[in-house]
Symmetry: C2
């Protein structure tokens, strides 16, 4: 990679360069308005060698930008909270909203390089994370994100020289960290690692731009050129329908909803006995889950009035309240809507050792958003694979991922709706929207069936929970969760 | 405090106690619906000795609650990010939304006690933070929050005994931390500290409930009794108009807006020269601000078209982009609206060493919310003092707090509106709302004058920036910020 370094047209005089840089800064400011108007999110990653001038470059490039519509994120070592999340989590957290720019001052690339050189990551794990990076960047691009990736390159000698200059001055010596020193000492290893990592993430759709950064003006000229060219290119040729990537994951065979018998029942006595027993068993496993740092992610989907709420309650109360969260998912807030649709779920993932339940989930994309046409047909068709990738990411991180479809028949729903309507204490539970959704039962059934067929993977299986009897349903979910945890604990 | 421990009516048999607890759990579940309906936020702090059973109590109390409408937060030692924010920050971050309950598993009280015993906090600083706690709790209560504070008490012998029991079992020994051991060893010191801290925060409106926790069932009975009684009391006797607390802070005399001359000007040449000079000086101070960990908070308010945006841009670009954020403040999101109105500003405060600019701010409460009647008269009248307290909190934390009112006259606004309307590149900057606001100029002027009179404090002064000449205004703000930083750096 470092060989294909671009150089500035040497015929440019210092003065010309200055003029051109100014023009480019203004061009970027103009593009900022276009981005805002067209509601395109832009992510600019700035990686590079220590002391290559990333911070200075950034401060200069943004001179003409409107500070309300960009944000700079400087990444250092992760803190305890972040270390208990998936590796890419803290970068995903800060992806831009539509119409805004996020600058990452060193991205996941630097983190991966350091972790690989210091042997914190094995080669296998490194490769695994690199493929996650490519998946993430492809998903972002497919969802309208513009990504520009810059790497500021200086020679080992230059880096050492700049370190020394900073160290000589007492007001700047603190800027040279142990990591900076180490990077110079082990430059060969770092070079090899960066070469490998940059190459593995140098894709057609999100290529790297290696920028010689010895001369700060030349570096800014090149950086601004790459950024403005990329934005211009995408704004002029927006991808309206990105290809629907094929699913690569082994799928479990799921039955059609219509073929699922719903006549199960359970006596009050048996229910009480098994409920106590299961909750007791689960809460006894809590300590082991906690100690082994296993995160658990459970998604609930199901018909209105299928009994999700009561089901979730029984499950929640089997876990330590301090490590268990329930996220009710309604329509996205404006901020959430302005980001990749999986963002609001990524940011709500549990820490290691914790449990998160989603009362409705990312499957909204292929259910309500599909039916109500809140997204395009391409969007929801693409989503099956995107969701499989998302769940693979969580699962590979180490999470137990379980998904429940709470199933009832149409008559049972009607009965429960009418009960709610008749009961003053429950009437708040039933809205006009519930009745409208009920009219679309058949459309939803088609969507649910397709979802079950296309997203039930070995690492994140769907379970259909027959819930005409709510009590039967509760026992079944508890059993499934218990079994999944026991299976995982056996692995250790 | 520990003397006035409540005891359970000893005539209650074990069986009776069990039945009563069940009834209380159901009562709390019913109250949860009422809370939701009446949109009241509830905060429940659970503090107490190590191994007093806080976690178990919590898990039992919430058995009947709907997990979608409560959240449990377990606090441990703060991480690096949190340690770079004001002490109460991470608790404020998790205050409940209207209609929901937040449980804090150990609150700021435990943090303050540990920090006081370990001498991390001097007595003076401790007292300072204790008064901040009282202010916070009073502000929350004044803004409809119900707060219940429980302290689980066990004797030193019991605590030691429980530690030993946990340590004997290999699957639970990890639960006894060094801090737990230390607490038993230094019980006398801890008792003294807790006594003091509980007393100082035991207010009429937010009293402590000390609960003997040797018997888990008795503890739960008492805890549920205190919680449900408090909620019932408040729901039955809501405070519709909390008293408007008097301002305690020395105020700076501010001129009436109408008396501020606006005929300043500056030549293009002088502007350029001074701008370069000031930006240069400011960016040179960046290293020192950074090293000394000083946070800077700058709030902008001003008329529409007064030139806030351009002004902010010049200021932003004087700081290191990696440590400087601009938050444009628009109408609150539904989540933000459901919390204390200062919440969305508290959570956006910078870390130490960083700069945050607010493009419009918490003063919306006494400006747009007053004029448009988005809050009650009592609310905005109470806000002057609440805001002074809020800024005192930030300032005492160590932040430089600066507030700018960008001032123009009505004719200049009209001229700028018309220019925007006539210029296709700027027309997006002008909306119908701007015209509507213009019609309310006089009302706003009254509100702005009152705001300037009532919230310009020595620690967070207002500066009126004459902005008929935008260039003059930019130079003046830069000078003020530079002077404020230089003054602070001199202090060191």
């Amino acid at each position: 990679m470092f060989e294909k370094i671009m150089h500035v047209d040497s015929s440019l005089s210092k003065e010309d360069l200055k003029v051109q840089i100014k023009q480019l800064r203004n061009k970027l400011a103009l593009q900022q308005h276009q981005i805002k108007e067209k509601q395109v999110p832009v992510l600019i990653n700035i990686d590079g060698w220590g002391q290559a001038g990333k911070g200075t470059l950034l401060s200069h490039m943004i001179r003409e930008l409107d500070p309300r519509f960009y944000q700079v994120y400087a990444y250092k070592e992760e803190n305890e909270e972040e270390s208990r999340k998936p590796l890419l989590w803290r970068y995903i957290e800060n992806i831009p909203e539509r119409g805004k720019i996020s600058f990452f001052d060193t991205s996941y690339i630097e983190e991966l390089t350091i972790k690989s050189v210091t042997k914190y990551l094995s080669e296998k794990k490194l490769n695994h994370h690199l493929s996650e990076v490519c998946t993430l960047e492809r998903q972002l691009r497919d969802n309208d994100y513009i990504i520009v990736k810059l790497f500021l390159h200086i020679s080992k000698e230059e880096e050492a020289h700049r370190n020394i200059k900073l160290l000589e001055d007492r007001t700047t010596s603190w800027k040279v960290t142990d990591l900076d020193r180490l990077q110079v000492e082990r430059r060969g290893k770092y070079e090899k690692a960066y070469e490998y990592i940059l190459e593995k993430t140098d894709t057609d759709y999100n290529p790297w731009h290696i920028i010689p950064a010895k001369d700060k003006k030349e570096a800014e000229f090149l950086a601004l050129t790459f950024i403005t060219d990329t934005i211009e290119e995408v704004l002029n040729h927006p991808v309206t329908a990105p290809p629907i990537t094929e699913n690569n994951f082994p799928l479990l065979k799921m039955p059609e909803l219509s073929s699922v018998p719903l006549d199960q029942d359970i006596s009050d006595e048996e229910y009480k006995e098994r409920l106590d027993d299961l909750q007791d068993k689960l809460s006894k496993l809590n300590n082991r889950i906690y100690k082994q740092g296993i995160p658990i992610v459970i998604a609930y989907e199901g018909w209105d009035a299928s009994g999700k709420g009561g089901n979730i309650k029984r499950l929640t109360h089997s876990f330590d309240a301090r490590g268990c969260n329930v996220h009710p998912i309604a329509a996205p807030s404006p901020e959430e809507k302005a980001k990749h649709y999986l963002w609001r779920f990524s940011t709500r993932l549990p820490k290691s050792s914790h449990v998160t339940l989603f009362d409705r989930s990312w499957y909204g994309r292929v259910l309500v958003e599909r039916i109500e046409e809140y997204c395009s047909e391409d969007d929801w068709k693409r989503a099956y694979n995107e969701i499989n990738e998302f769940e693979k990411w969580i699962s590979d991180w180490g999470a137990i991922v379980i998904k429940f479809w709470i199933q009832i028949d149409k008559d049972t729903q009607l009965k429960r709706f009418e009960e709610r309507q008749a009961n003053p204490e429950k009437i708040w539970k039933i809205t006009d929207e519930d009745w409208r959704n009920r009219e679309k039962w058949d459309d939803y059934e088609v969507a649910v069936n397709e979802m079950l067929q296309k997203t039930s993977t070995s690492y994140a299986p769907w379970h259909i929970i027959e819930s005409n009897s709510k009590k039967y349903a509760r026992i079944k979910t508890l059993e499934i969760v218990l079994a999944a945890i026991e299976e995982r604990l056996d692995d250790y």
